[in-house]
Symmetry: C2
Subunit: 237 residues, 2 copies
C-alpha cells in the first residue's frame, strides 16, 4: 500500500514536470472509489478537489503561474412542479400531495430536458398518464439549498393525451381529475399568493391564453450538445 | 499517520454502531483538504462520495438496510447572456464579443439570483454601467456540459440607469451604444435563427411589447431560503 502511494507520488511529480515543459496547463485525475488511497497522495502533491460523484472524486491541478481557467463545478439542483389538464379542461389532482401544483422530488436531469423530464415524471408519478408538454409557466430561483447550492423549480403545464382519462389508483399514488374551478377554490390552494397566482395562470392558460415559455428543440451551436430553447410562443412561431 | 488512520477507522466504526442503535440514518463526513488521509479510511469503512468543492470532499453513509434518501448532488451550471439597452433605445455592444447577446462566462450564483447576477455581471464587464433588470427573455436548457452535467443559459434584458450613457473604454472591455436596427442587421447577428429570434424579441421588448418573465422577489415558503419567482408580467401584476 505504502509503496503504491510512493510510486504514484513519484510518477505524478515526474509527469507534472514533463507536462510543464510541454506547456500543458490543467491536469485532471479521476480517482475511482476503490483507489481512494491515491487521493491524499495527489492532494499532497498539490492537487485540489473539483467535484465528486458516488463512485469517484475528480482532482485538478493547474501548472502555470497564472489564474486557473477551470470549468466551475455544478451549482444548481433542478426540480419540477407539474400542472396537468385534460381535454375537458380538468386538472389532475394527486392524493396526499398539494394537487396539480405538486412539488415532485428534485431529480437529476442529466441528459434530459425540462420537457422530457416533466413528461417522464408525470407518467411515473401517476402510473399511467401520458402527456404532451405545453409550456413553462414560471420558475423559482432559490438559494440556500443543501450544501450551499441553489435550485430552480420549474412550474410546467402539460396536456393529457391518454385516451382513457380515468385515472386509476396505483401503488405510486392515487390521482383523479377535478374541475379547475373546484381545484382553484380549495383552501390549501388559497394559502399563498404565489400558489394562487400560479393556479390562476394555469387556469387562464387552459383556456388558451398562453403566457408561458414553450420549448424549441434542437437549438444548439454545437452538435455534441443536445439542447432546447424556451421563450414566448408569440415570438417563436 | 498510520496510527491516526487506524484510530479514525476504529472511532468511525464505533460511532456507526452507536448511531445504528440510536436509529440514525444518514451520516455525513466533511473532510477538509488537509485531512485527505482520512478519505481512504472512510471509503474503506463503507462511505461513498457525495460532492466536493476545492477545499473539501463530502462523504456519506446510509445506516439502514433501506434505499438511501440523500439529497442529490447539484446537476446544473448556470450562465447568463445580457441584452442591455438605454433610454434612447440603443443597445450596448461590447467589443470583440458577440454584442448585446453576449455569452458571459459561466459563473456560480450561490447566494445570488439571476436578476442580481445579471446586474453585477453587466457592471463588472462594462466597468461602469448600472442597470435595472427588465426580464428573462428566454433560456437554453442544455446538456452534455463538462463532467456529464447540464447547464442553463438565461437570456436577460436590462435597462441602463446610468445617467451618463457614454461608455468608456476600460481594461475590462470596450463598449459602446448602437442603434438597435444597426445592431440587429450586423451579419454576425444574422448567423443563426436563434440569435436572430432572440434579438428580434429583445428589439420588440425595448419598444414595450414585453413577452418575457419578470421576477417577483421574496417568494418563499421557508424563511431560511432567499428566492424569487419568474413568470409573465401580464400575470404578476
Amino acid at each position: 500500500m505504502q509503496n503504491d502511494a510512493s510510486r504514484f507520488a513519484a510518477s505524478l511529480k515526474a509527469s507534472l514536470s514533463q507536462w510543464a515543459r510541454q506547456g500543458k496547463k490543467g491536469v485532471w485525475i479521476k480517482v475511482p472509489k476503490d483507489q481512494a488511497k491515491l487521493v491524499p497522495v495527489a492532494i499532497e502533491v498539490g492537487f485540489w478537489y473539483h467535484h465528486a460523484e458516488p463512485s469517484y472524486v475528480m482532482l485538478v491541478y493547474w501548472i502555470p503561474q497564472t489564474s486557473p481557467t477551470i470549468p466551475d463545478n455544478a451549482s444548481h439542483q433542478v426540480g419540477i412542479a407539474a400542472f396537468v389538464f385534460n381535454e375537458e379542461g380538468q386538472a389532475l389532482v394527486v392524493q396526499e400531495k398539494s394537487g396539480p401544483y405538486k412539488h415532485s422530488r428534485l431529480w437529476k436531469m442529466q441528459g434530459e430536458g425540462i420537457k422530457e423530464g416533466a413528461i417522464r415524471e408525470v407518467h411515473e408519478e401517476t402510473g399511467n398518464i401520458d402527456t404532451e408538454f405545453v409550456e413553462v409557466v414560471g420558475f423559482r430561483d432559490g438559494h440556500n439549498a443543501p450544501f450551499g447550492k441553489s435550485d430552480f423549480l420549474f412550474v410546467c403545464m402539460l396536456r393529457s393525451v391518454s385516451s382513457n382519462i380515468v385515472v386509476q389508483d396505483t401503488e405510486i399514488s392515487a390521482a383523479k381529475w377535478m374541475a379547475i374551478e373546484e381545484f382553484a377554490s380549495q383552501p390549501k390552494n388559497q394559502q399563498s399568493k404565489l400558489l394562487k397566482d400560479m393556479i390562476g395562470i394555469c387556469c387562464a392558460n387552459v383556456k388558451g391564453r398562453s403566457k408561458g415559455f414553450s420549448g424549441i428543440a434542437g437549438i444548439s451551436s454545437n452538435s455534441r450538445r443536445s439542447s432546447a430553447f424556451y421563450c414566448s410562443a408569440l415570438h417563436s412561431q
